[in-house]
Subunit: 348 residues, 2 copies
């Protein structure tokens, strides 16, 4: 094992994720790379979202920007949830102000059968971006990233973002065999996408199930959990810690832990001590500062950061983060101050 | 007390809300009056939303439509959450495809001080609509309706609908005295709006806190609960059962019960037996069929209706409903079949 790799394995981030003692709590922010940073907005003025995600030079630069600026304890690969589908050959685009739009929604057995698999050879640009990043980052670990099968399925079935996921839920309940075939396929796509990132040197992997919180625990357990578990199980031999996260998942925290991740992400609705009780002692937690409060002025932010850190001490491992992504309107200086504050508080 | 009033007090709905034995479970649907009905869409082609809510003839007709069609056990006053603000004199409109838009958002102490109170004399049209409806409905009870102080505050502070309620949360945490002054004022508006409905003959009142699920339990308890409790407390002497509901409130169910309602509404994420455990034995429950499943085909709908009824037996009282409003795309015939099915299953 090379020296930089050893350094990354011994990073604050990986140690906290492994529930090992750390002097201070590691901190990064979901969507730290992106619209809250002027240097990102400047780069993106003439480049579409999906193009930005597929050019290794841009992925590297955008991923590094928040590390340089905020001195966070991890980079997170700049990517998009639907990117592996597009790389596999699904006709989709990201439309500004709308989100991902799928040209031909997937709703029949024939549609599912026609879905292309993802071959590692189709994401050479991810391999290249991760290797470039690992070189640039030195001792700072890179977190790989992919959307979970349920969230990918919702985009495919609805044809785009949906508030109520009605077509997705109709397929799930009305044609469970077809549903499971679809999710099994997507689990394969997600697994390939994440394995390439681990092989190229990512120090941890986050499986992001954006929409899981739209489901009851019973539906999640029956229709989703087996497929997220398949992804996480297929990544166990990579040896890197695995994070699983969704929003609005208070009812699902125990199940998210059972999916096989080392770390369960928690939004702002459930305090970390209570979340850790639900998830159990064998998992670290990540979260849960309310991103909306980043605009409430420093005294409020400081009080909330200290509260999250205090409640996080009840968990066997804690990675400081927001309860959801950085809102685009966030003042980046507030994030930098949050990092400094988190680093100033002793943990173990 | 007049004969029709006695009949309404002894209705299936009120008995279930009072946790008294009922032969079958009463059923109505949030947003049963509205866009899912072709007869509603026909009426609304040339009338704006706020105009429709302020014309007693239209309110009466729109409120009666789903009762005629589905034979539900209750009517719910056709209204809009922001209507009492508009009636009090706040400059706002409902913009198609957007929602309520407030001309001058409320963010400073001067803004709060300038907010008009609502006088019962300003909502004579509500008094008239309710009296007309009570006459038309005969033995079928009418449920009165208003938005809760927090949800009204979010519209006023944000200036319209918001995904993350960032300005609202910033005000709440950053200027708690101003926040409490705002919510106390809005509690007065809501109380007046609901008292007029009770005085005109409504058989029950629902306080709807659309956005409460965006809050952690700690924030809800500190910044919202006292004001919802003030509203419900001020309505206790009306003698009609009170319902309190929000979406995504798994973490808040116990607190929603403590606000003083007789019935707590539950969305589709928490099964009614578990919800009733959290809420406690002194409250009935209402909900929790997943509205998205109304489009999943009858076998799925039937299975889910039977599951909700079975789980509802664990609660001391159960009013069948959806976990949120009727989606506009719903086939109304499915709702009619749901009513027939609910009525075919014995309860006590």
């Amino acid at each position: 094992m090379s020296a930089p790799s050893e350094v990354r394995t011994d990073s604050l981030l990986v140690r906290a994720m492994r529930r090992r003692p750390v002097p201070t709590t590691p901190v990064w922010f979901m969507r730290q790379a992106g619209r809250s940073l002027p240097e990102y907005r400047a780069l993106r003025t003439e480049v579409g979202m999906l193009e930005a995600c597929t050019r290794p030079d841009l992925v590297t630069e955008i991923t590094l920007q928040p590390v340089r600026r905020h001195r966070v304890d991890a980079a997170i690969l700049f990517s998009d949830i639907v990117l592996p589908l597009r790389a596999a050959g699904v006709d989709l685009d990201i439309v500004a102000g709308v989100g991902p739009v799928v040209a031909a929604p997937v709703r029949s057995a024939a549609d599912v059968a026609a879905l292309p698999a993802l071959d590692a050879g189709q994401i050479g640009f991810i391999d290249e971006a991760v290797r470039s990043l690992v070189g640039e980052l030195g001792p700072t670990p890179l977190i790989g990233f992919a959307g979970a099968p349920f969230t990918l399925a919702s985009y495919l079935v609805e044809g785009g973002p949906s508030k109520d996921h009605a077509r997705t839920k109709a397929l799930m309940h009305g044609e469970p065999e077809l549903w499971h075939a679809l999710l099994a396929h997507l689990a394969g796509v997600t697994t390939t996408f994440l394995r390439v990132q681990a092989a190229a040197g990512a120090s941890a992997l986050q499986l992001f199930d954006s929409w899981a919180g739209a489901l009851s625990a019973a539906d999640y357990a029956t229709y989703v959990l087996p497929h997220s578990r398949a992804v996480l199980g297929a990544l166990a031999d990579t040896g890197v810690p695995l994070v699983h996260f969704g929003v609005g998942t208070g009812e699902l925290l125990r199940l998210l832990g059972e999916a096989g991740a080392d770390v369960v992400g928690v939004d702002w609705r459930v305090p970390l001590d209570e979340a850790s009780r639900r998830i159990g002692p064998d998992r670290a937690v990540q979260g849960n500062l309310d991103p909306a409060l980043l605009r409430a002025g420093w005294p409020v932010v400081e009080r909330e950061v200290r509260r999250v850190l205090a409640e996080g001490r009840a968990a066997p491992g804690h990675v400081f983060n927001l309860g959801h992504g950085v809102p685009p309107e966030t003042d980046p200086d507030v994030l930098t101050r949050v990092v400094e504050l988190v680093h100033s508080v002793p943990r173990d």
